[in-house]
Amino acid sequence: MTAAAVNRSLLLLAGLRFYLRHPGQLGLTVAGIALGVATVVAIDLAAYSSGQAFEASTRLFRGQATHEISRPGDSLPDDLLARVRRDYGIAMSAPTVEGRLRLAVEPRRSISLIGIDPLSAARVGGATAAFAPGASNFAGLMTQPGAVLISAAVAQELGVETGDELKLLDGGGESLSIIGQVPGESGERYLLADIATAQEILQRTGQLTRIDLRLTADQAGLLTSQLRQEGLQLRPVAATLGQVDAMTRSFRINLQALSLLALLVGAFLVFSTVSFSVVRRREMFGLFRSLGARRREVLQLVLTEIVVLAAAGVALGLLGGIVLGSGLVSLVLRTIGDLYLSTSVDYFGVSLPLLLKAALIGFGASLGAAAWPAIEAARAPPRRAMLRAYLERQGRQAAGSRLLLSVALACAAAVLLLFTRELRLAFVGIFMVLIAAAVAAPPLVQFSMRGLAAASTWLPLSYAARSVAANLSRTGPAVAALMIAVATFSGVGLMIGSFRLSVDEWLSYSLDADVLVRPTDSRALAASGEEADLLAELRRLPGVMDLSLSRRRALPDGQGIATLLAVQPAVQGRWPQSEQPRARVLASLARPDQVLVSEPFARKRDVAEGDALSLLTPAGEREFSIAATFVDYSTDLGLVAMELGRYRQLFGDQQLDTIGVFTATGQTATVLAQVEDLADRRGDLRVTTSAFLRQLSLLVFDRTFTITQVLRLIAGLVAVIAVINALQAQRLDSRREIATLRALGFSPGQVLRLGEMQSLLLGTGAGVLAVPVGILMAWLLIVVVNRIAFGWSMVFVIDWWLVSQGVLLAAVAGLLAGWLPNRRSLRESPAVALRAD
């Protein structure tokens, strides 16, 4: 073994023994790395699994189908299948009807019912899982009334098996017989029935959701133009998958950004723990250098240590991330199901490339965090490395340049945020703002503590403030981590709070009626011409002041992603929420060539008031003028509003989705009872109240943001770990000082109170600095990120209670984290502490 190798192994041994003697330090460093990696893995896996699940779900019954016929926002007549086969000679075609229903055993969560024609499905190679030998009693679907196959995921969730009955909650409360199970790896949640059974249960007799086809290129070309004339759409299956991808893109990017934000917070924690472990041993490194160790060897020692610690942290983080991710994935899937798609799936898969990416990020962040302290430890001349005063002086000298760097970063971020329309760049800008704040945090805490010390006439306070300022050479990174964590905690909270307030306000405009009536079969209502009678009957009810009518369908613009809302607003209603006066907006809407567009639509299509918008009507393409934009959070995919009469005239669609009933003041309960009586008598109406829907919407909102709340909690956890780190550093630094105080006659209680005052000042200092950073972060998330991602504008409200929660979190975290180190510092005899130094 060469002398250099001996030297290196001894250095490494000394480093590892340091960690073995300080298990708390070891634990904090590994926990910091693990927490950052776990968050990235969890959110990434949740996003990945949801993508996989929806792709599997989309492909589930399409098999070898290449195309599908559908009518965006509407159903197909089931005689279309016969025409496709007869007129175009396409035998490889399979009809499907899909809908959702609720079961008595699980009333809180609806489930998909998919109706197929088993023989046709077999022809296009769909439903292969159901056809698997011995998988199910497939033939029974066609012969037994009310027979269904149940997906393995639902069977497991409900604890039911073949032979059991499932009672329906909706409709007449009929029962379905489970005649078999369909295995599935993607955890799809569905019931499978023969198409006739499904149409009956879903009350969609004669209707299809889509027809799957196996087509050659020539057949596809021929069909496309002919179906278009009928207002139907022929799309490749791949496009459907792409549509899911396009619809959820912003949501997924936001998730990714959240995971990166969590990583950034985690990286600061890693930086603070690693810096602390290096700075704490600068005397040891100085000694090594005095004994002849080269700079490179010290650098290698620190980096080798970090690689070993990062390996442990990454391994723990990957495991923790998988566990956390399996919990988060159902949140993500439910959110996507709630907001974008009607399908519901449960699936969690682990992707090796994602784990590798997270591992690389973990190692990269750890080494990146350790790089500067390691270089500093290796660069310092041996004698200087051993002097604390040198480090403190260096810190003071660097304060100015740190502030300059921070300002430069903030300016660059401002330029980026001002001009970008790209979501990823917007997040880069926000990260730059956070890094700028983190760079500025230690000098700012130092200045404020010095100011406090100078202003205070009470010696213990000025002593505590000066101690906090003096210890920043060790506690600086932890203070930065604490500040970032608290800013994220408050900033994300403020963003959610403002968003919720905006949604609540919007709901008061969009759900402006008091009672909502929905025909169970709008087609039947339209066909029989009963609509006028129903509306007249509703108007006659005592206490009813006005009605509003609406119909929603996919926007006929060839893309089928955005929504067309045909509406006849009530005079006394509030919709739409627009910057323009309501009377003027409604007057514009009444004109035959004018439409309103939602903010997300305007932003995504880059259109504004006065611009033209082309829509495809059965009579051909029609051009409209955009009269105004309005606030709408129901979809980030865009909404175009048109006057109902004009819509019916142009599209020939007489159906209604919702009738809003406006009541006289204090008459809602009476009117509701009467409308419910009417619905009972007719049997074709569903009745609900706006208040209920408003509550439900806010419930969905809260569920959507659960994952964001998880991030807040992680940020809070990071804050606590960071402050423990900082206080450990401070207590260790003050060991001799505490012994001197005790030698001077400070009682244990006095020493404890001084320690607690320092803990409180450190936590509060970082917490107070986090206030403007958190507010700025929330503002950027609302004004920049949400506008780019979803096109939504929101009110920005600073909830000072929430802001003070952040400061309180930091202060309480400071006090709690200081609890043990402060008491531990008293356990040691002052003589031992003085001798040890």
Partner: protein, 252 residues
């Protein structure tokens, strides 16, 4: 510089205790063994020592002989492994940590070899610490600090932080801090060990002047033969035992 400040009674009604009330110290069968030392012999063994009030005692011995340990026990900074330490006739074993802190705060002043000033407090604030701890009223404490600074020729250094002072200046501040509250006993652990000879002489003069010169008990660990010649008693410590107690005069 060497003119002693007047002994002022400052502070609250019980501030009488700030003035140097005579206190005797005793060690009875004291032994000391550090837990981490394993099989290593005890640092101190069967030490018996009486230190009457107003004594000027010097402890000599090689490095590691136990001088600092003995001073730590006398200064109530540590408890013996066996035997007992009596301060004013009261055993420290019977005292709680808070009571021990009160003894240190009131009756003892400690000067360390490496000064141990509070780095984040200015010179003036360092001197205020023992006074405030003893409940001195702010005006009286300010007067006391003023006179201490003047006596140690440190008036122009009052707003400086310890790191901005020379070693000699830091030790002068440490001595002033040790006597600020008028303790009965002044203990100095190799107070000149980190200083050059001329500075060391000045420090010794200051210690004697404010320590023994004002009727306090002065206990000092040192290697300085000059000091040994000026003390009333010299104790030599070797292998944990007090081998010899001599009257003032050269140590063999």
């Amino acid at each position: 510089m060497s003119r002693a400040p007047e002994s002022t009674v400052v502070g609250r009604p019980d501030a009488r205790r700030l003035s140097a009330s005579p206190i005797s110290l005793s060690l009875r069968q004291v032994g000391m063994r550090y837990p981490a030392a394993g099989d290593v012999p005890a640092v101190l063994r069967d030490i018996n020592l009486e230190i009457p009030a107003g004594d000027y005692l010097v402890i000599v011995g090689r490095s590691g002989s136990g001088k600092s340990t003995l001073l730590n026990l006398l200064g109530c900074l540590d408890q013996p492994s066996q035997g007992e330490v009596l301060v004013g006739g009261q055993s420290t074993r019977a005292m709680t940590e808070t009571e021990l802190a009160a003894v240190r705060r009131r009756d003892i002043g400690f000067v360390f070899q490496s000064f141990n000033l509070i780095p984040t407090l200015t010179v003036r604030e360092n001197l205020l610490v023992p006074l405030q701890l003893n409940g001195a009223e702010s005006e009286a404490a300010a007067e006391r600090v003023f006179s201490l600074l003047a006596a140690a020729d440190l008036k122009d250094r009052e707003a400086r932080f310890p790191e901005e002072l020379s070693g000699g200046e830091q030790q002068r501040v440490a001595i002033m801090r040790a006597i600020a509250h008028e303790p009965a006993v002044l203990i100095a652990d190799e107070p000149t060990g980190n200083l050059d000879l001329p500075t060391a002489r000045l420090i010794l003069e200051l210690l004697e002047s404010f320590g023994h010169g004002q009727g306090r008990t002065l206990i000092m660990a040192t290697h300085s033969r000059e000091v040994m010649g000026r003390a009333q008693r010299v104790l030599q410590i070797s292998e944990g035992r007090l081998l010899e107690v001599t009257a003032a005069g050269p140590v063999p």
